[in-house]
Amino acid sequence: MDKFIVNIFLIDFCLFIIFHFIVFRFFSESKVFKGLVLTFILAAITGFLISLMLNNQWYHLAITAFTFSLIVAFIVYLNFAFFYTLAFFGIAVTSLRVQLLSLIGKTGSEGITSFQLTRKYNINNIIKVRLDRLVDSGVLSYKNGYYKLDNKFSYFLVHQYIIALLKRIYLTER
């Protein structure tokens, strides 16, 4: 069963990497979250089907064991996708540090002062880009000049709760 589970999540994750390069050719940068969700689901389903074709072990598994295998494989795949998204994709796609590095890099040996940098890249464009991305992804809505939270559940809220909890536990905030 271990081999079966490992096959599923490794194939799922490899497909996640491949598919996200394809999916984002059709999704603009503002629809990052929808693109990620689509990639995740596509890779999960395709990977599962490929695993079934490649492994004949699953014929011998009882329904409960088969279901258990799928659940475990899904949890591990979710962890893989989460790690890749935050550690690589997020940094390459949305990171402020990378954007600053890019702007500084374009000036070459001449360099740039912080004043010149903030004229090109400041609160206005940083916030606007992110708000547009959140609206295009359906996390927020924009109506009559106001932004509202469209869904009660949002990954970002979960992220904030976890960070707030960790800050309390680690005594960085009381």
């Binding site: 081999k3 500084i104 890099g105 002062t113 912080s114 916030i127 992110r130 960070i163 800050k167």
Partner: protein
């Protein structure tokens, strides 16, 4: 299942030890990423536990509780540790994701205008702090009042451009 429980329990124990270690170091005003290396010791412990279980628990593929899942259990521990480390970067860098903060602000205010939202951010928080981080990790250097990219930063940006070209995107940030 028992293998997964083992990895889960060892991860929790390592997490608790990490909290205690961090609080201890905090008394001496030491805050360091290196404390996360405790999870490497946790992995060694997990590996030992998995090997012990594999050799001593009778293999019974029909009983989910005792089905041997050594590789899955070890990979799960590693992933939980890595994902936890990612969350801890916010703690160590004292950073907050602007997008997460935006969603949070809209939620607590139930609705918000752009000009209200901007009041909660500053160039100091969004830009100057990050510039200082880039200097500290030696991706850029500061010469007088000017920031210049250096070798490590050039390599990073080349990789990022390549990665984004595969996605068909330009850099926006």
């Amino acid at each position: 299942m028992i293998f997964l429980f083992l990895s889960g329990i060892i991860f929790l124990i390592t997490f608790i030890i990490h909290i205690l270690l961090h609080r201890f170091l905090l008394r001496y005003k030491i805050v360091t990423f290196k404390s996360l290396s405790i999870f490497a010791f946790g992995f060694i412990l997990d590996l030992g536990g998995v090997i012990y279980l594999y050799e001593n628990v009778p293999i019974n593929n029909s009983e989910i509780l005792f089905t041997p899942l050594p590789v899955t259990a070890l990979i799960l521990y590693v992933l939980l540790s890595l994902n936890f480390a990612i969350f801890m970067t916010s703690i160590y860098l004292k950073d907050q994701s602007p997008s997460a903060k935006l969603v949070w602000l809209v939620k607590i205010n139930s609705k918000a205008e752009l000009k209200e939202i901007k009041h909660y951010f500053s160039n100091s928080e969004l830009i100057f702090k990050r510039l200082a981080d880039l200097v500290r990790v030696r991706w850029i250097k500061k010469e007088g009042a000017r920031y210049k990219i250096i070798t490590r930063g050039k390599l990073i940006i080349k990789f990022i451009y390549f990665y984004r070209s595969l996605l068909g995107w330009k850099i926006t940030g």
